[in-house]
C-alpha cells in the first residue's frame, strides 16, 4: 500500500462503497466479536469462504489487490497456527524434535489462523471501500461522537498523511550531518546518501518525528479553536444519510453469520472456549 492511500477508498463505485461507514464498522466489529468466541476450525472456514467472494464482488476489489493485502494477515495466521500446533496438550499426532504436534493444537491453530484471515478480509472490505473523513462525519451523526473528538481524529489523519515524507526528510537531514568517509565525500553531490539503519539512528529519527509532529499538532489545534470548534453545537456539511441498502446489508450479514453458527452447532462441529480445556 502506498503512503498516499492511507484512509482513502479504492477509486471505484460499488455496493459496499455506497453503504454508510458507521454501519460497516459496526458490522465488522460485531462479527469479529462473535467469531472471537469460536475455537473450532469449521465455523471460521465456512464464514471465510462466504465472506471473501462477497467482499470482492460487492466492493469491486481487484483480485490482485486483495491477494497482496492478504499477505500480512497470512503471516500473522501462520504464526498463530505454528505456536498452537506445537504447544498444546493432547493426543500427539507427530513429533518434531523436542516438540509435539497435537490434535487439539492443530484444530485450534487452524481455527485461529482462519479467523485471522476472516477478520482480515472483513477489515479490508471496510478499509478499501470507506473514506476516513466520511466515517468521522457518520460516527458524529449516528453514534453522537463529540465533534471535538471527530475533528481531533481528522487532524491526526492529516498529520499521518504527512508522516512518511517527514520521516524521510528527518532521516536524510540526520544522515547528512554524519561524518563521512573521504570516498563518500568525493562522490558527486547529486547521488542520494545511504540512510543509517542502526537502532540508534532510528531512535533519534523517531524522537525528532515525535517532537515535530506534536508541534504541528498544537498549531493545528490553535487553528481549529480560532475557527470556533468546540464552542457549541455545530451544523454538518454534507450529512451522512442512512439508506434502505444499509438495512439490507445489516440483515444479510447478521443472518449469514447466525445461519452458519446454527449449522455447525447442529452438526456438532461448533466449539467455544471449552475447546481450550482451561476454563473447566
Amino acid at each position: 500500500m502506498s503512503a498516499a492511500a492511507f484512509g482513502r477508498p479504492l477509486d471505484v463505485d460499488s455496493a459496499l462503497h455506497r453503504r454508510d461507514p458507521a454501519v460497516k464498522l459496526a458490522l465488522v466489529l460485531v462479527i469479529s466479536a462473535v467469531v472471537t468466541g469460536v475455537f473450532d476450525p469449521w465455523t471460521p472456514t465456512i464464514l471465510y469462504l462466504l465472506a471473501a467472494p462477497a467482499v470482492v464482488l460487492a466492493g469491486r476489489i481487484p483480485l490482485g489487490t486483495m491477494a497482496r493485502a492478504h499477505l500480512p494477515f497470512a503471516l500473522f495466521g501462520l504464526s498463530l497456527f505454528t505456536v498452537n500446533a506445537l504447544t498444546r496438550q493432547g493426543q500427539v499426532v507427530w513429533t518434531l524434535g523436542p516438540l509435539d504436534v497435537t490434535a487439539p493444537g492443530l484444530e485450534i491453530g487452524i481455527s485461529l489462523a482462519v479467523r485471522t484471515l476472516l477478520i482480515g478480509t472483513l477489515s479490508l472490505g471496510f478499509v478499501l471501500t470507506t473514506d476516513g473523513a466520511r466515517l468521522m462525519t457518520s460516527l458524529h451523526q449516528h453514534v453522537r461522537l463529540s465533534g471535538a473528538f471527530a475533528y481531533a481524529v481528522l487532524a491526526g489523519y492529516r498529520l499521518l498523511e504527512q508522516l512518511p515524507q517527514q520521516w524521510q526528510t528527518i532521516r536524510q537531514a540526520q544522515a547528512m550531518r554524519r561524518p563521512r568517509s573521504p570516498q563518500a565525500r568525493s562522490r558527486p553531490a547529486a547521488r542520494p546518501i545511504a540512510l543509517p539503519r542502526s537502532p540508534r539512528a532510528l531512535t533519534r529519527a523517531s524522537f525528532t518525528l515525535l517532537v515535530t509532529t506534536l508541534r504541528r499538532g498544537e498549531r493545528m489545534s490553535i487553528a481549529l479553536e480560532t475557527r470556533g470548534l468546540g464552542a457549541g453545537r455545530r451544523t454538518i456539511h454534507d450529512p451522512a444519510r442512512l439508506s434502505p441498502g444499509d438495512a439490507v446489508l445489516t440483515v444479510v450479514a447478521l443472518a449469514t453469520v447466525t445461519a452458519v453458527l446454527l449449522v455447525t452447532w447442529r452438526f456438532g462441529l461448533l466449539a467455544g472456549w471449552g475447546a481450550l480445556g482451561v476454563f473447566g
Binding site: F6, L25, V28, L29, S32, A33, T36, F39, P72, L75, F76, S79, L80, T82, V83, N84, L86, T87, R88, I108, T116, I119, G120, L122, S123, L124, F126, V127, R144, S146, G147, A148, F149, Y151, A152, V153, A155, G156, Y157, L159, L160, S206, F207, L209, L210, V211, L214, R215, G217, E218, S221, L224, E225, L229, G230, A231, R233, L276, G277, V278
Partner: protein
C-alpha cells in the same frame, strides 16, 4: 510558540465533556477538568506517531515472526509493552481522567481505519482494555503523582490486563510456554510501557514542546514554589 507559555489557559470546554466544572484559574489544577480540544489534538498526534511507528515495525515483524516458528508468537509478548506505552505517556502529559483510554482508542482507530492493521477492528476493544489497564494506577493516585513507582505500577497493570485479554482471545493458558509468556509480558510491561513512558515524557518536556499542557504547567508551578 513557547512565548505564550506563561499566559492564561486557552482551553475551551468540550461540548460533550461529562464534567463541566468551570476550569479553575489555577494552571496546575489536575482534577475535574474536561478533556479539551487542545488536549484531544495532542492525543491524536501522539496516537498517530506511535501508530505509524508500530505499523512500520509490524511490516518488518511479520516475516521474522514466521521465521522464529513457535517462538515468534512468544516474542509478541516480549514486545507487548511497547504497544501500550502511549497510554501512560498521554496521562503523564495531559493529567486528566480518561486520557489513557482515549489515546489508545484514537491509536486503534488510526491503525484500523487508516493503516488497515492485520489485527482488525478488534483492536478498538484491545485499545480500550489496554488503556484501562495502563491508566488505573494513575487514577488511584487521583492523577496527582507521577513518580517512577506509579509508572512501574502502570506497566504491571497494563501487562496484567493484556494477559487476561490474550487468554480470552487466543487461549494462551492452555499452551506449554504459559509461564514464559507471563514472565515476558510483565518484564515488557514494566520496561517498555511503564518506565519508557516516563523517559519519553521527560525528554519531550525538556524540548519545550509540552509547555502548554498540564505537564508543562505543573513543572512551572513547581519551579515557582521552589524559588
Amino acid at each position: 510558540m513557547s512565548a505564550r507559555a506563561g499566559g492564561p489557559r486557552r482551553d475551551t470546554p468540550s461540548p460533550a465533556g461529562p464534567s463541566q466544572d468551570a476550569p479553575g484559574p489555577d494552571p496546575a489544577a489536575p482534577r475535574r477538568a474536561p478533556i479539551t480540544l487542545h488536549d484531544l489534538v495532542l492525543l491524536a498526534a501522539l496516537a498517530v506517531v506511535f501508530g505509524f511507528l508500530y505499523w512500520a515495525l509490524v511490516q518488518l515483524w511479520g516475516w521474522l515472526q514466521v521465521a522464529m516458528g513457535p517462538f515468534g508468537d512468544l516474542a509478541q509478548n516480549a514486545l507487548a509493552g511497547g504497544w501500550m506505552v502511549v497510554a501512560p505517556l498521554a496521562v503523564y502529559i495531559v493529567r486528566k481522567p480518561g486520557v489513557g483510554i482515549v489515546v489508545e482508542i484514537i491509536a486503534a482507530i488510526v491503525e484500523v481505519v487508516f493503516l488497515a492493521s492485520p489485527v482488525g477492528p478488534m483492536l478498538l476493544l484491545v485499545g480500550l482494555i489496554q488503556g484501562v489497564g495502563a491508566e488505573l494506577p494513575f487514577a488511584l493516585t487521583r492523577y496527582r503523582r507521577y513518580g517512577w513507582g506509579v509508572f512501574l505500577a502502570s506497566g504491571i497493570s497494563a501487562a496484567l490486563f493484556n494477559l487476561v485479554l490474550g487468554m480470552v482471545r487466543f487461549g494462551w493458558a492452555g499452551q506449554d510456554f504459559f509461564a514464559l509468556r507471563v514472565g515476558l509480558q510483565f518484564a515488557s510491561g514494566i520496561l517498555l510501557c511503564g518506565l519508557l513512558a516516563k523517559l519519553i515524557g521527560d525528554a519531550l518536556l525538556r524540548t519545550g514542546v509540552l509547555d502548554n499542557y498540564a505537564i508543562g504547567r505543573a513543572q512551572r508551578s513547581a519551579a515557582r514554589r521552589g524559588r
